[in-house]
Symmetry: C2
Subunit: 181 residues, 2 copies
């Protein structure tokens, strides 16, 4: 698909420019994408995965990925925990809804628990581990939103009811990651 | 874009079939779409809009619509209230995250309040109104998820903190709408 075949124009009846294929007239409606994930614990330990794929290969993340078509958000978050860490999880509530506007991502992050500490890397993970808070490899965390989720989780880990977090004030997900928490 | 130009096949490196254009090779990655909306009140009254567009023209809904690219969810929900009802709203928390898997929709619905009762129909509304609970036109509500949102709102309208609702048990958004609440 050479890019020059697509032209940016406002389709009839629309109010925004979209990429339209010069050859077949296909309108590429681009929608924000939904990422679903979870901060899951076994006793006091938090499940994390070391990424086997770009971006940020080798860095640590919570299990998360793109929601698929016709999939409910909570099912997508469970599927990602299984695919990335072979973790069988129960998700109890929504921890946070984050936005990364630059890449049009909406992230819906659950709080959950593992049914068993038996985890192992899936295809997209180099390694998986259960970390005590102080053992989290803070200098090797993959994305700002993983920092947000871990810290927000810590704030409410003992609360049964809370309203989901949004991005920390003023943060957009474009922040450079500092080597400390 | 005649449909027969697109073929359903699994692109290299992918694990699911996608629609691929026979002419230009374009891969139509379809992602779930995010709808953002709000149940907003002025004093004890709930803002609703009568739809000027398909589907369900002439039926009543809460302000809601598709999140745009690079837009934060809360900003999208405010924009929809403005576009559909010229309502200037403050949104205080997430009321619900619903799924309508059949059409791959994720709906993120806020709870909010109007800054002024001055509202008027936007381009996509035939009419807008502020309804007391008992005056809501229950027989003319546009979608199951609007019923869910209104009833969930009623459950928590006096609570400062709660966890967002999901779909009512067993409901998928495909339910036929009954003429009563």
């Amino acid at each position: 698909m050479p890019d020059e075949k697509f032209e940016l124009k406002v389709p009839e009846g629309d109010d925004r420019p979209r990429l339209v294929c010069d050859t077949c007239g296909f309108i590429n409606y681009v929608n924000p994408r939904v990422v679903v994930g979870a901060v899951c614990t076994w006793e006091n330990q938090i499940l994390m995965c070391r990424r086997a794929i770009e971006p940020r290969t080798g860095f640590w993340t919570i299990p998360a990925g793109y929601l698929e078509e016709e999939e409910a958000v909570i099912d997508g978050a469970k599927r990602e925990a299984w695919e990335e860490a072979h973790a069988d999880v129960d998700l109890d509530c929504i921890l946070a809804v984050y936005n990364v506007p630059r890449i049009s991502q909406v992230q819906i992050i659950y709080r959950g628990s593992l049914r068993s500490p038996k985890v192992k890397p899936g295809l997209e993970s180099l390694d998986v581990a259960l970390f005590e808070w102080d053992d989290i490899p803070w200098g090797e965390v993959a994305f700002p939103s993983v920092h947000w989720a871990l810290n927000h989780f810590r704030e409410v880990r003992d609360l049964s009811t809370f309203s989901p977090f949004a991005n920390p004030e003023g943060q957009t997900g474009n922040e450079l990651l500092e080597p400390d928490k």
